[in-house]
């Protein structure tokens, strides 16, 4: 019955030795799992070894913004280093002749074609999720989202490069936050203040499902979805793939 493994030790282990080894393997595995792996991977820390060794930070780092949002001063104060040419600083110039005022510095060049994203989301009772777009600093975004009921949300971003001293933490910057009453819709234009992922966290705190529609156009290459603690990278729609005028009849304005 030997199948190519002729060189196995000729003597069999005693049943006792075999059982002992298996039990030791199992117990060692359980200890390592409970003491180190579970705290580091999932933040499950029954023995408090993860907290003592700082392993739970690893688990927390993988689920940004799933905690209640706390806006710190650092998060809302723009940093001096950010005010480079990737920022618009529109100036209203009044006309000396009394004609309509003009706006200056409202254009920013982008690297390539914009992308389009449209999704219908159903949030189960108690469920929270994130949709974020990866954007370079200075990339623009136009968006609308509407929901079937008011829900708490936060529009925020995580820079790829965190401020000094905050590397590896759940650092993020908040752009629009309503975690009390919530809103059922929000529309905006947005210019990414940093290279990173920027988008929304919504949470359904009601006991009924909430449907949500999100449409966005902007300069991003991929979409980061965080749902049920699972991060998934999604593909946006290439706007060039959408039907154009010959197929969509022009409606004439009267």
């Amino acid at each position: 019955m030997s199948t190519g493994q002729t060189a196995a030790p000729p003597h069999l282990p005693s049943l006792r030795r075999l059982a002992t080894a298996t039990v030791i393997a199992l117990l060692t595995a359980v200890v390592i799992l409970v003491a180190f792996v579970l705290p580091a991977e999932y933040g499950i820390d029954p023995l408090r070894t993860g907290r003592a060794l700082g392993l739970t930070n690893l688990a927390n780092a993988t689920e940004p913004a799933s905690k209640p949002a706390v806006v710190t001063d650092a998060a809302v104060t723009p940093k001096a280093a950010d005010t480079t040419k990737t920022f618009l600083n529109p100036v209203l110039v009044t006309s000396p002749t009394g004609e309509a005022p003009t706006m200056k510095d409202t254009f920013i060049a982008q690297r390539g074609r914009f992308q389009f994203d449209s999704r219908d989301i159903t949030l189960a009772p108690g469920e929270g999720m994130e949709i974020k777009y990866n954007m370079k600093k200075g990339a623009g975004l136009v968006y609308s989202w509407t929901a079937s009921a008011t829900l708490p949300f936060e529009f925020h971003g995580e820079p790829d490069v965190k401020p000094t001293g905050k590397e590896g933490t759940d650092y993020y910057e908040s752009y629009e936050l309503d975690d009390k009453k919530g809103k059922s819709e929000s529309h905006g234009t947005f210019l990414a203040p940093s290279t990173g992922i920027h988008g929304w966290f919504w949470e359904n705190k009601t006991d009924k499902p909430i449907t949500l529609k999100l449409v966005s156009s902007g300069f991003f290459d991929w979409i980061s979805q965080n749902r049920k603690n699972k991060h998934t990278a999604l593909t946006p729609t290439d706007p060039y793939s959408l039907p154009s005028h010959p197929t969509i009849p022009d409606a004439v304005m009267r």
Partner: protein, 233 residues
């Protein structure tokens, strides 16, 4: 000399345990940056997918632990080639069927079964089946069947991304070939190390302990994935 064997056994133990704690970038998932590429990519990209497949295999410790178990007692290169071919047939089948056929297996369950395959092979190497049931289950069939599960594991990793239908077949085949290349590289290193160790008297003496450690690694993988399955629900 005894000192030296202890040293070798200790090093093996450290490597086995160390792999279990490797940080995420070194671990199982295609990393965030690679994910960005996979998603942003449209059309066929042979070399990048070859590389991703190879990288996944070289850094995928669950596949490697299983293969260490499989070739542990294979002394002849001919046997290594035979067993690895069976494993390859198994995982290529389910990788292609899984991705092209759109079969979605639960990643945690599949990875837990892969962890179990390590436990099974370690127990087999300890002559556990001969002791308990009186015979050794066919090792070729076992490696083929577990290969099928490993392939589903590879498929779930690729399915986490919305792959572009443009050049899909080319890219998956490239990924698959990359997996084989990475497997060959990793196995060559393991085989050379094992061959050297076998020339030493301590090999058989430490084989039982080493396979107990392998089994520990397998149990850790099973527990890690089953917990993930419960937590993610």
């Amino acid at each position: 000399m005894i000192q030296r064997h202890r040293f070798v056994a200790a090093c093996t133990a450290l490597v086995v345990l160390g792999l279990c704690f490797a940080p995420d970038a070194f671990a199982h998932n295609v990393s965030k940056r690679d994910a960005a590429f996979v998603v942003a990519n449209t059309g066929s990209a042979i070399a990048p997918f070859l590389y991703l497949g190879a990288k996944h295999m070289v850094t995928g410790y669950d596949h490697l632990l299983f293969l260490v178990g499989v070739i542990f007692f294979l002394y002849r290169l001919k046997d290594v080639v035979l067993y690895v071919s069976l494993f390859t047939i198994g995982h290529s089948t389910t990788l292609l069927l899984g991705v092209l056929g759109g079969v979605h297996a639960n990643a945690y369950v599949v990875d837990a079964i892969i962890g179990f395959s390590v436990v099974y092979k370690a127990f087999d190497n300890m002559n556990g089946f001969q002791r308990i049931v009186g015979f050794q289950p066919n090792t070729k069939i076992a490696v083929l069947i577990f290969g099928l599960f490993h392939g589903f594991g590879l498929a779930t990793k690729l399915q986490e991304f919305a792959l572009s239908p443009n050049g899909l077949v080319t890219n998956i085949l490239s990924f698959n070939v990359g997996v084989e290349l990475g497997q060959f590289l990793a196995l060559a290193a393991v085989f050379i190390g094992l061959s050297y160790w076998r020339t030493r008297a301590g090999f058989l003496r430490h084989a039982f302990v080493t396979n107990t450690l392998l089994m520990t690694g397998g149990f850790i993988l099973v527990g890690y994935q089953l917990t993930g399955y419960v937590v993610a629900r």
